[in-house]
């Protein structure tokens, strides 16, 4: 396992070494890589790390960096429960 401590996902503290380890284990697509390492599952929901992870995956597997990404889930940014419940923002 690579020991590199360079952070790719700063929300969930996932390093490039952990991503490389997951790719070696067979996570050869971005959805698998996300689920095995947890990258992209923190408050930014992948806005800062998906591009980096995609590039790293492309370099490691020879796939084009334009290969399938991840399905972005709503909401587009974290929203407080009380707003979603229809309570006033007071």
């Amino acid at each position: 396992m690579s020991t590199s401590k360079c952070l790719v996902c700063t929300c969930e503290d996932v390093t490039d070494g952990e991503l490389r380890h997951a790719i070696e284990a067979g996570c050869a697509d971005l959805e698998s890589l996300k689920r095995f390492t947890g990258f992209g599952t923190g408050p930014c929901q992948g806005k800062t790390c998906v591009t980096l992870a995609r590039r790293l995956l492309a370099d490691a597997t020879g796939q084009p960096a334009s290969a399938a990404g991840i399905t972005y889930r709503p909401p587009t940014q974290p929203i407080p429960l009380r707003l979603l419940a229809g309570e006033d923002e007071t």
Binding site: E31, S32, R35, F36, G42, P43, P74, P78, P80, L84
Partner: protein, 390 residues
């Protein structure tokens, strides 16, 4: 460590498992651990694409019928040791399940269910309002008259369970193929002889249908009709918080459930009346609004907690809320392992072990008769399972 295999498929396998979730990988895992490693697991997408990657991770023994209860009770025991057994941390946390009653009528029903649990080896307790306040101090007690609590219930991280099973399967020699679909089956003399896949056709002695909400499509490949209907269920996750919510809480008025996972996130879902059958993984704002309102009604102090993500999965629903297991009428070597109606993940340790025992020629731990497809006769009267939640 490897989670999947590659290279060309072999021309024949003893067992072909269709579906790479907790059920498909689970049965392959028990077979491999018993020494039968000539097994192919077909996953049509990435691992966790189906319900094993979309469920809330609740695992409980509190069920309303004996047939569900025994599977869930024994599965809980297997989940408890799963991290050690698989050599992979599955993040199991035994915080219990708390069911809330807001009426005397519901509480009376809970008392009856608790007696049934106690008679069947599940130590469910009927709890009063002061017990509940101690279990979850943040809970809105308005209208709560009591509830039931089973300390042995808990939560698990479904993603790790599937990865742990895949790892064990591959290290024992099972062929685990992602992005490989079963496209057809060939039958002869009352047996399935071949499975056609997107990577070629393989011969086999056994086929297991562990395709979850797609199991009806798989059965249909050889003209077998399952009564299972896929029904969408939605769920959301919030930002992570300091641990405060010990048990999984279920509101029996509306089917809301909420727990705090090992990452600190709150995970919550709720039943949506009028959901039409069909495989539909789209997210709806109707769900978001309904779950947010209901969750704040239950836990009024968390209004500023932010929702990070919501998604949908499908329950594979049978008329009686029990799974479909065992051989198929007309095809003795075609085993069903589906139709678990929203609790397929939590009962998978036991249902997969029983399926593996059938293949290995052993007597399953529990008789599969009550779960077989034959039960759905034209005059079938389902026993009512009252505790399907969400």
């Amino acid at each position: 460590m490897r989670l999947v295999t590659d290279g060309p498929l072999k021309p024949r396998y003893q067992v072909v498992v269709i579906g790479g979730g907790a059920n498909g990988l689970g049965v392959a895992r028990w077979l491999a651990e018993a020494g039968m490693t000539d097994v192919l697991v077909l996953e049509k997408s990435y691992l966790l694409h189906g319900a094993s990657g979309r469920n809330g991770g609740g695992v409980r023994a509190q069920w309303g019928t004996a047939d569900n209860l025994v599977l869930a009770r024994e599965s809980l025991k297997l989940f408890r040791t799963m991290s050690a057994d698989l050599g992979f941390n599955v993040w199991f946390r035994q915080g219990g399940y708390l069911f809330l009653a807001h009426s005397e009528e519901k509480l009376a029903a809970i008392r009856e269910v608790a007696r049934f649990h106690n008679a069947n080896g599940v130590k469910t307790r009927v709890v009063d309002t002061s017990d509940i306040h101690v279990l979850v101090p943040e809970l809105n007690m308005d209208g709560v008259v009591g509830g039931s609590y089973h300390a042995g219930d808990g939560i698990i991280f479904p993603w790790s369970v599937v990865f742990g099973l895949a790892k064990r399967c591959v290290e024992r020699g099972v062929d685990v193929r992602t992005f490989t679909s079963a496209t057809g089956m060939r039958a002869s003399g009352g047996r399935i002889t071949h499975v056609e896949t997107t990577r070629g056709t393989v011969a086999c002695d056994w086929v297991v249908n562990a395709a979850g909400c797609w199991s009806g499509e798989v059965a249909d490949m050889v003209g077998v009709k399952l009564p299972n209907l896929p029904v969408r269920h939605e769920i959301l996750v919030t930002e992570a918080l300091k641990p405060f919510l010990h048990p999984m809480v279920v509101d029996l008025r509306n089917g809301l459930y909420a727990n705090q996972d090992m990452r600190g996130e709150l995970i919550s879902g709720i039943g949506m009346p009028g959901e039409k059958p069909g495989v539909n993984f789209a997210s709806s704002f109707d769900f978001t609004r309904r779950v947010a309102k209901s969750l704040l009604d239950l836990l009024p102090t968390i209004g500023d907690v932010k929702v990070m993500r919501q998604w949908a999965g499908a329950y594979d629903v049978t008329p009686d809320g029990k799974p479909v297991l065992g051989p198929t009428p007309g095809y003795d070597n075609f085993l069903q392992l589906n139709g678990a109606s929203g609790h397929g993940f939590m009962i998978s340790p036991m249902t997969t072990q029983m399926t593996a025992e059938l293949i290995l020629g052993r007597s399953p731990r529990f008789d599969v008769a009550p779960y077989r497809l034959e039960r759905f006769t034209p005059d079938f009267k389902p026993e009512r399972e009252t505790l399907v939640i969400g």
